[in-house]
Symmetry: C2
Subunit: 144 residues, 2 copies
DNA sequence: GTTGACCTTAGACTCAACTCTAAGGTTTAT
DNA sequence: ATAAACCTTAGAGTTGAGTCTAAGGTCAAC
């Protein structure tokens, strides 16, 4: 049975974050002292560690909530449900990477066009390019 | 002289956004009607378009503020100042891409390990991997 | 028997870039 | 002269994932 600060030390999640996760239904303390102190069982610790791993794998707290409901009742959930969540997250990540790569290209082109020297910016080609607005890549903007 | 809705139509930025940008010092209407309606000159329009292009190039509103101060007084600013802003943004983008690629790899490995079928999740290898927590990539978390 | 470290709660604040609302004033077309 | 379409402001709400504060209760050690 661990107190919240001990679980915090074990998981690297702050006590604040642990309470926040509790408020969001992700973790609970199975036991409480008379005064209301949280006491975490081994199972609680494993659940908290699962949450942390999932978070580090890029899942949102909402995703993690779904993964946890699979976790507590594996018999009623299929592998497909799990891969759906994972695939959806991967699609999201791939989309963001594509956006950022387009941005990366834009910025690289801008940087390559400019001397970067100490001369004044009267003829700076980055400024000119932004002034023209011709190379629009619309990165980061939802187009749908 | 354009009214705000007309500038909105020209730039694709909503009137709300244009007012918001004004509040943040990015754009202004050079003229106003007696009743206080904003009227934008050609120079205002060019400035708004500059802002839009910069935003589409991934610059934050704060970055754009800096770019605009170069823009209004190019003689007192150097190309280097402009490339510094741009390089800084590129570094940021590269960092995010690296994070996301690490995430992408994690998710891909997870997906490859699981059958994704209709069988129940009792032996789902994604769930097992999250349970183990061994493959930690800590994507998206500041480590510094 | 008190100091200091810990715990509790509810709720406000942070970041960025909007987005929207309320409540009202103006302009234009009929 | 009145309705529709536009404009104004101040300020609140959104998103996600925390982070922090205030005000107080509890526990262990000395």
């Amino acid at each position: 049975m661990l107190k919240i600060s001990e679980l915090s030390a074990r998981t690297g999640l702050s006590a604040h974050t642990l309470r926040f996760y509790e408020k969001n239904g992700l973790i609970t303390a199975s036991n409480h002292s008379e005064a209301g102190y949280r006491f975490y069982t081994d199972a609680d610790v494993r659940r908290a560690e699962f949450v942390k791993t999932a978070r580090n794998s890029g899942f949102s707290l909402e995703d993690i909530g779904q993964l946890l409901s699979v976790r507590v009742d594996k018999l009623s959930h299929s592998c497909q449900q799990v891969t759906d969540i994972t695939q959806h997250k991967l699609d999201e990540v791939n989309g963001k990477i594509a956006e950022l790569q387009s941005l990366q290209q834009t910025l690289t082109i801008l940087l390559e066009s400019c001397c970067g020297g100490p001369e004044n910016a009267t003829h700076c080609s980055i400024m000119e390019a932004l002034e023209e607005g011709e190379f629009r890549n619309n990165a980061g903007r939802e187009t749908s």
